[in-house]
């Protein structure tokens, strides 16, 4: 199910890639994007700890942009 959904998304990306693309957000328009409040993981050490707690308490893993490692959380 998840793989089918991923293939569908890749197909959409491929279609868009066939047309010429110009950057629509210019470098001088990115001051808000560069603000610290726009970071997905502002403090890596704190975020990775919380991911570790999630991994220990839940069966799900991955899909969160974190690298992860073996922790003996079985």
């Amino acid at each position: 199910m998840i793989l089918r959904r991923l293939l569908f998304i890749v197909l959409l990306f491929s279609l868009v890639a066939c047309s010429p693309i110009k950057p629509w957000v210019k470098p001088y328009e990115r001051q808000k994007i560069a603000d610290e409040i726009m970071s997905f993981e502002r403090d890596p050490i704190a975020d990775s700890y919380l991911h570790h707690v999630y991994d220990a308490r839940e069966a799900a893993r991955g899909g969160d942009g974190a690298s992860g490692g073996g922790c003996g959380c079985n």
Binding site: I9, I37, M38, I45, R57, A60, C71
Partner: protein
């Protein structure tokens, strides 16, 4: 679940194509103290991260992390004795920036008295379209050795593999989005059919005896586990200086577990010195095919599990946090310093895991109250940029 499905699909279509200019991460030092308290388990300890650039193209980082565990969880109370142990983790990573690409290497080692894990990782990110789009892939290889304190001869080898694809996009001047797909495989090596390595060797399942009571036998898991996870994250800059982050994820594995979670976070700066965060997360999963709270008889099936993390349950998490920017000059040598305190409250309701600690004279086997767990998670840390 249907709502999350639609949200994910809609977001992917809107994205069109896939975010970040290729730059090295900040040079910084983080000192964290973490604490977990819930369900009879207390886990706390320090963590240190140091990240430094070497020249204009190389960044290296080292992390040291400790879990000090003191546990009398429901599993322990039902079939074992409270215990204390320590887990130490060391990680080293490096990034090499070359034009619009970043090459990443990493190594992590985790050790405790009955579990050793080593993980090697490699990844490449590439930015496109005037740095509006970043696409990356990664792979990690893990080798674990599972032991058991009461049996020095107990040694199980576990091999882990993970393959990842990530894409991120500057969608508008106010919106960032990121998509991640992970496919992971766990494989036990050199085991007989009766042995397993993916379960906790101390945990047991319970089964009915035929006389109204129950007894325990060891868990037995499949030798492999394959899982896929697809996650979408987006951050939006509000009309005033504050942001909203949304995260949604779908997960499924070869054990029959399907899971979804969605999280909403609001981040609000105040008076240049403060950042306040509020977060709400919901998570739900179905149970593994071979999970049962109470099996009808001994050896009722090939695989047997009674790990509450493999049962059907749902949970909510509320998080609050504050970051204080220490005025420049107060701490010399550093360009910027912050003090941070974050608290998360987990509330987990198990739909198929019963509290077997109650008296069998008050409750018949299989009629015990369902278990629920509340846990508090604290993170206090100091961060220094240089």
């Amino acid at each position: 679940m249907a709502v999350i499905n639609r949200l994910l699909l809609l977001a992917f279509v809107l994205l069109g194509n896939i975010v970040h200019a290729a730059v090295l991460p900040d040079e910084r030092i983080d000192l964290l103290y973490h604490g977990y308290d819930g369900g009879g388990a207390q886990i706390d300890g320090p963590s240190i991260l140091v990240r430094k650039n070497i020249g204009a193209s190389v960044s290296v980082a080292a992390n040291y992390y400790v879990d000090m565990v003191s546990s009398a969880s429901i599993d322990v109370q039902a079939t074992a004795s409270p215990y204390s142990e320590e887990r130490k983790e060391q990680g080293f990573s490096g990034q090499y920036l070359i034009d619009r690409s970043t090459i990443k290497l990493g190594y992590t080692s985790s050790k405790e008295n009955d579990y050793d894990a080593s993980t090697y990782s490699f990844g490449i990110d590439q930015s496109f379209f005037g740095d509006l789009t970043t696409v990356g892939f990664g792979v990690s290889f893990g080798e674990d050795v599972v032991g058991q304190n009461t049996d020095p001869t107990y040694k199980r080898d576990l091999q882990r593999r993970k393959y990842s694809i990530n894409a991120s996009q500057i969608v508008t001047k106010n919106l960032l989005a990121s998509l991640s797909f992970d496919s992971a495989t766990d494989q036990c090596l050199n085991l007989t059919q009766d042995e397993s390595c993916l379960n906790n060797p101390y945990r047991s399942v319970r089964y009915l005896t035929g006389t109204g009571g129950y007894l325990y036998q060891s868990e037995r898991y499949p030798h492999t586990r394959n899982s896929d996870a697809l996650g979408l994250r987006a951050i939006y800059y509000l009309p005033y200086r504050a942001s909203v982050r949304v995260e949604a994820r779908q997960f499924s594995d070869s054990w029959g577990i399907d899971a979804d979670n969605i999280e909403l976070r609001y981040l609000h700066p105040y008076d240049e010195q403060w950042l306040f965060e509020v977060k709400y997360r919901i998570y739900s999963q179905s149970g593994a095919d071979f999970y049962a709270d109470l099996f009808p008889y001994r050896d009722a099936q090939n695989f047997l599990a009674r790990d509450k993390e493999l049962s059907e349950f749902s949970s909510t998490t509320i998080g609050l946090g504050v970051t204080y920017k220490i005025p420049a000059g107060v701490i010399p040598w550093f360009d910027k310093s912050t003090a941070n305190l974050y608290w998360d409250r987990f509330d987990i309701d198990y739909d198929d895991f019963r509290d077997a600690r109650v008296s069998p004279t008050d409750f018949a086997a299989g009629a015990e109250p369902l278990y629920n767990l509340q846990a508090d998670v604290f993170r206090f840390y100091l961060s220094f940029w240089f």
